[in-house]
Each structure stands twice: as structure tokens, then as C-alpha cells.
Subunit: 462 residues, 2 copies
């Protein structure tokens, strides 16, 4: 009817204008939402506020999945095509298809196992430590021997700059670990083809714990996580009665079973029988193919907010803890007092504010221990955020941490965006009288005790 | 006259054939020479044989210069264009031209200095060590505290795969250093704009020595050098009366002043007054621009076999030692009994033979401690060797070293060319009874002495 009043042409014009108008309004709406996401929230400190910010960011993710490491997977002949269609999973040890032969096919009738069952690890370990005083599990009282474990693919990144960021990331870890007397293991090998992708860390962790009884704590850290507080020492004594420390919130895990109620991109695991049992309980959802796919469906159904994709280690942990709290909960510490893992989206725009108002050593929202670039994936082609924003912020986070190292030597970056450094303290002919403001030159947490044997075989078997 | 006998056309044909023939002969000649270079020499152990091989390889280098690190320089606004035309120098801290401002211009009337003169460093250091027993300069008797220093540019490599090889290289160093109780400092900052390029290590080394009196030896290692003997421990006690250890040959340096009579891509420098003086004596040829260019001419004239290019730190060291042996020679150890630096060209094709006939722990031509990819420059665009050969051989060298780490855990690469790993030892429920063949799991050179204070402040002040 309208066209008879206004004329067909006019009606078409109006219809076109309306369509354009709708599109314009939609774009405007999306822009506002995205801007709101970027600008972030105000204060931090409660899981709800942290969490709301993370949820907003995640709302617009292209493919919602936990991205705890920095890489783009390559297809191997043994990978399912489904896996690659849905998302780009991190596989720290993906193997080129052009290499000789396939891995041995696992026997489908045998349930997956991380290795031969061990039930007396605490006893084995105690005996070994007593017989090997040259390899103590404590460097000093309240200072356990820690191995930081991380890694990436043995293949060059698909995205040319990806390897550059992996390089900066490992330099960042080398710096923190040198200051804190922590050793590093950088993995580039896939030890178990069935546990490819984010699950690859489980066989690796088990292997390292069992090979190195002198390690008291193993610290897994994703390659897309960087240290941004060089002065913060983990409060080891806080965990004397716990075996597994992750950043997270009890309510989000045990009450809500929220899939991001904890983060497995940076965690501490004590070397003990309990941990071996935990790894065994954690692993069943991991074997790739039908097991992992079906497990993914269960996790999506059972966890709050979890999108559809194959089982990942983080969701599996939420599920495990959420359903078996009585069995595991007393030895798990969900830490939210400092950023053992800090989601980058709510931190990186505040670095200047932090520099203005705070100082290193706090480890929390005021000066985060770890800034973790979940979802960025500079090594691959498809991240969940704009490449430009990710890389720019990763440079800033790197420089934010690097400044704390450089100031030891009297230098700093010209700005958080700049690779260049400038001098902030002149050299003198009495270099040992220099006061480095942060006390990182010879930090107390690195000092060794050289004349006592009483603590050297201290164990905290759980 | 010839054309009247044979006809003009025929003469032209003959001329063309002759030209083609000459070209063919030239190509054949070059091919033979290159092949001879690749095939390498037979036995090793004498500097003449090693040296001859190196000379043959160098003969065909596009731009003859020492390439001790793995990078392609970027032009900064403060760099001279001459520098970039002649060669591609490594500048571990080259700065992007798009960044704010220039560095401060040095005062041309003041002679270059690495820093304020210090004359009592041994005394300062002894006092500090006595007052800081928590930071001993010896880990165990005959085991000094060592800091391995390396680095690369803060910019992404021009060649996309370059950063991937930097990443593998640092992983390789992390592995060796973890086994040997050595800390790592990975530098990505240019501390002194005048000393850019290969000279950048001098201000860095001085800064680190003076900041860390607990370091007994600083081990500089280029980013294009990799550890290929994970079991070899440097014979520290051999150097108890020396302060500076480089791979090289006395005759080549002191008698011939041969520009590759020693190598500054991997060296040990004791933390003492003598070393500060050495750095001061070494540095004058370094400041970029006229000083470095003119010094380059002197070095080309004075050293045997040195091509034309600006002064580099290695040539300057040969010149310094060759002309001032009395002053420095007694504290310099030119080591040729093992490959503190091992030129890749004469090593990489022999890895399979080494695996067949020898074992790790030898450190010499039978199983080189270090394989150093001088001239490869995967980070840049223009290396001196084919990119394909360099990358392929770097992968092999990496895997050769990595196998020694993987075997600790029961794995090995499927071949020296393969990123994939395979199991060589099954897991058991008694992991601590495993014998790792190379004894690298808990090596004796890593064991700490936990109950003695007599050695902890041992100094070897020279």
C-alpha cells in the first residue's frame, strides 16, 4: 500500500535507507560494546569485577576457547580435520607432515595412561634426597628448588613475527628466573602423540617430576605469559600444606563450575605422590580424537559459559575439582591475592598508571606478577583479538618487565613502546656502592646458605 | 685475417664458442673449488689443517668479515651509509628509525671511554665477597660462578625464520647452562650507541662484571653458536692463572697476526682488574664512524688475510695481542684442545661419524663443545653461505645437541634432520633407578656443596 502513496521508487529508497540505517545502528552498537571492552573496568580486587571484564572481552571472541599458549597448530596426518576447522589449537610439538612416518598408533582397547602406575613416589623421593645431598630440594629455608617449564613448537611460526615474540617471552622468563634462583626447561618435543595440543604439558610434567626428585615445585608457564613483576617472590610458605596452586576463585570453580574459574596457563605443582595421582586423574579427557571430542561435549554441558570445542586441560580441571572437591580440594590452592596468571585485557592499558602510583614487588592488580596474553596467538594466523593490539601490548608488557631489569644497570626503555633504552644513572668508579632501587641486584630471595646442612634435605611430603 | 680464411660468420661462431668454453671452464673450476671446500679436510688436531679448511671456505665469501652473531643490521638514522653498503654488521641492539629522537651525540673532542676509570677493582670485589657470603663466587671447589652472556636485536629479523633459529639457539644454551649450573643473561639493549654492532658486547660485559662481583667468569657467546657437547665441562682449573680464554692458536696470533688466529664469538673473561684494563685496551677501535673505519684500514694492513672493512672486535684483539704480547700474553690462554668455538664448516657434515665413533664429553673435533655458524646470518638477508645449507645444518647441530638432552628422558630425534622425537627407553615404576647413559641427569659438575664454608669466598684475584 505504501508504494501506491509514495510511488514504487520512493518506497524502494525508503526501504534501502532503513536497511542502511539498521546496519549503521548495529555497527554503532558493536563499536560501543567493543570500546567498552577495550577501555576496561575500574577497580580490581574482587573476582566478580575481574570476571565481568574477562566475560565482556570473551563475548566477542571469534572462536571461544582457552588460549593459554602462543601458537598456531599445524595439521599432522594424524590430526582430525574437525580439530582444525573449529579452532586453532596450540600444539607445542606439532610435527611437519613432510617428516618420515607416522607415530605409532595407540591401542584403542587400552585406556590411556601417562605411564606405569607409581604408588610410592614419596618414599622413593625421600630416599633419593637423603642419598644425594649434592642435589637438595631447598635452596634456603622457605625457598624450594623450582623448575619453570615452558615451550613451543619445533616448527617456525606461521606468522613471521611469532617467533620474535616467543624469543622475547623466553628472555623475559630467563630474567625473572635468574633473579629468583629458578631453573628453566624449554620444551620443543612432543613426548606423546595422543596428548598433543594443550594436553602435551601433562606427559612432560610427569616425566620431569619423576626424573628430577630434587625439584620441589614445578612451575608450568605458557609461552604467551610474561613476567611483569620482577621483584615479586612467590610466597612459598603459604603453600606448605598444598600441592597445586593455580590462579582462580573458589566460588567460580566449586559453586559455579565456571570454565574460566581458574587458569592452567601458570601453575605450581609439588613433586609428590599426590601430584602424580592428580595428573592421572586429569589426563583421561586428553587423548585426541573421539575421547577428546566427546569429553568436550560433556564439559560444555557441565561447565558454565564454556563454548563448544574439544576438551581442553583447563576445563577438565574445573570439572575435576568441581565434581571431586572432597578428594582433591584440600590440597589445591586457588590463589587470587596476586596474579600468578593475569589476564592481559584488564592490565595492559594500566601500566602507566601502575608506574605512576605503585612499584614492583606487589604482584597483584597494582603491579601484576604475570601478564598472560590469552587469545593472542602471534605464532599463528588466527587469534581472537586484533593482531595489532596484541603485538603492541605484548611489546608494552615486555618493556614494562624489562625496565625492572634494565634499571638494575642504570637504564630504561625510552617509553613502553620503544625498543630503545636510555641511561638513568651515571656510572661511577665505585660500582658496588650503587643502590639499585628495587634491590634486584643481589636480592635476598636469591642468596644461598653456604654453611648449613640442616635444611638441605628438608622435604614436605604430603 | 682469420675471417678471410674461414668466413666472417664462421669466425663469429668460433669466437662465440671460445667465449662459452671459457665460461664453462671457469664454472667447472669454481665448482671444483667449492666442492673441495664443502667436502672438508681429513684429520683434525693441528691448527694448519683446521686453518686451511677455514681459509678455503672463506675464499668464496661474498663479503669477507667475521660474522660472529646471527643478525642483519637495520639502518638507524645515526648509522653511516658506508657501514651498510659494505657489509651487514650484527648489531644486537639496532633501533628502528621510526622511534623517537636520536641518541645523544658523543663529544668528538673526548676520547672514547667505556666508563669511569677503576683501578682497585680487585680490592673492591674482595671486600664485597667477604661481606656477602650469600653470593659466593664459587659453587664448589674448582667450580666458579659463571654467567653466560648472549643476545640479539630487539627488532624482528628481516628474514622470517631468523627469530626461530634465535629461539632454538637460546633453548640450546638454556639446556647446557642448566646442566652445568651456569646463569644466562640475554641482552636486547644497546647500552652505548657508539659501540654498536659487534662492539656492543664490550660495554655490556663491563657493566655486568662491575654489577655482579659474585661472577667469577663471564662467558660471552654469540647467538649463532650452539652447544653440541652437553656433557663437556670447561676445565676451569686449567685457567687458574689466566684471565681470558679464547679458542685460537699462539702461532697464528703472535707470529702471523692472522685475523682468524683466534675467535671472539665464544670466550671466558675473569672478573678482575686485569679484565677491566683489557676491555679498556680493546675498545679504542670500536667507536663507529671515522675511528672504526680508519682502524679497519690499519687492521687490514697489519693482519694476515684480513679483507677490507671497518674494525671488528676480533681483528682488534689479534692486533692487540700481536703487538703487545708482553703486556697481555701471560694471562691470555689461546685454547685449541677443545672447541670453545668450533667453525661449523668443518664439523656439521661429520655428526653421524661422531655418533658412530665417539661420545659426548670430549669437547674437541671428535665431539665439539660448540658449533659456531659464522657467516650464516639467518636473521638477515645476506649471509655468506647458501641459506639452505646454513638452515639445514643449524637444524642438524641443534638436534645433535638436543639428542643429548632428550636421551636423559628416554627420547631422541628420529633423525638429525627431524623435529620429531621417538622413545628409546620405556618408563618404569622405578624412575630413580634409570641409568641415563651420559650421566647428565644429576651430573657431578652441578652438585652443590651444602655444608662447607671454607671455599665459599675463595677468590683467584690476578
Amino acid at each position: 500500500m505504501l508504494d501506491r502513496c509514495l510511488g514504487a521508487r520512493r518506497v524502494r529508497q525508503i526501504q534501502r535507507a532503513l536497511r542502511h540505517g539498521k546496519i549503521t545502528l548495529l555497527c554503532l552498537f558493536l563499536t560501543v560494546l567493543v570500546l567498552r571492552g577495550y577501555l576496561g573496568a575500574g577497580k580490581f580486587g574482587t573476582p566478580e569485577q575481574d570476571f565481568k571484564e574477562i566475560k565482556d572481552h570473551l563475548y566477542f571472541r571469534k572462536r571461544a576457547e582457552p588460549h593459554r599458549v602462543l601458537e598456531e597448530a599445524q595439521t599432522t596426518t594424524t590430526e582430525t580435520t574437525t580439530e582444525n576447522k573449529n579452532y586453532n589449537t596450540f600444539d607445542p610439538t606439532k610435527i611437519a607432515v613432510d617428516e618420515e612416518g607416522d607415530d605409532e598408533k595407540p591401542d584403542p582397547s587400552k585406556p590411556y595412561s601417562l605411564g606405569p602406575k607409581i604408588s610410592d613416589w614419596d618414599e622413593q623421593r625421600t630416599k633419593w634426597l637423603a642419598n644425594n645431598p649434592g642435589f637438595p630440594n631447598f635452596i634456603a629455608p622457605n625457598k624450594p628448588k623450582v623448575l619453570l617449564v615452558t615451550g613451543s613448537s619445533p616448527k617456525p611460526c606461521e606468522n613471521p613475527v611469532g617467533d620474535h615474540y616467543l624469543l622475547k617471552s623466553i628472555k623475559n622468563k630467563i630474567d625473572y628466573c635468574r633473579l629468583h634462583g629458578i631453573e628453566i626447561f624449554y620444551n620443543m618435543a612432543l613426548l606423546d602423540a595422543e596428548m598433543a595440543g594443550f594436553w602435551a604439558k601433562l606427559p612432560l610434567i610427569r616425566k620431569l617430576l619423576l626424573s628430577h626428585p630434587e625439584i620441589e615445585f614445578l612451575w608450568w608457564m605458557d609461552s604467551d605469559a610474561m613476567f611483569t613483576d620482577m621483584a615479586f617472590e612467590v610466597p612459598w610458605e603459604r603453600y606448605k600444606d598444598h600441592n597445586f596452586v593455580m590462579h582462580g576463585w573458589n566460588e567460580m570453580v566449586y559453586d559455579e563450575k565456571n570454565w574460566i574459574g581458574l587458569n592452567t596457563g601458570s601453575f605450581l605443582l609439588r613433586n609428590c605422590q599426590w601430584s602424580l595421582d592428580m595428573l592421572d586423574a586429569w589426563s583421561p579427557m586428553g587423548p585426541k580424537g573421539k575421547i577428546r571430542d566427546d569429553a568436550g561435549k560433556i564439559l560444555t554441558r557441565e561447565l558454565k559459559g564454556r563454548p563448544v570445542f574439544e576438551a581442553d586441560d583447563q576445563s577438565a580441571m574445573v570439572y575435576l575439582l568441581g565434581t571431586q572437591r572432597d578428594k582433591w580440594g584440600d590440597k589445591v590452592y586457588l590463589e587470587s591475592a596476586y596474579y600468578l596468571h593475569g589476564y592481559w585485557g584488564i592490565l595492559v592499558d594500566r601500566y602507566e598508571e601502575m608506574i605512576q602510583n605503585y612499584h614492583p614487588g606487589l604482584g597483584d592488580h597494582r603491579w601484576p606478577l604475570v601478564t598472560h596474553f590469552v587469545g593472542c596467538k602471534p605464532c599463528g594466523k588466527f587469534g581472537d583479538y586484533s593482531v595489532e593490539r596484541c603485538l603492541k601490548q605484548m611489546d608494552r608488557a615486555f618493556n614494562f618487565g624489562d625496565n625492572q631489569i634494565l634499571q638494575i644497570y642504570g637504564f630504561t626503555h625510552k617509553s613502553l613502546a620503544s625498543r630503545r633504552v636510555k641511561r638513568i644513572r651515571n656510572d661511577t668508579s665505585n660500582p658496588l656502592e650503587v643502590k639499585d632501587d628495587l634491590g634486584l641486584l643481589h636480592p635476598s630471595f636469591k642468596a644461598v646458605k653456604v654453611s648449613s646442612s640442616s635444611w638441605s634435605v628438608l622435604t614436605t611430603v604430603q
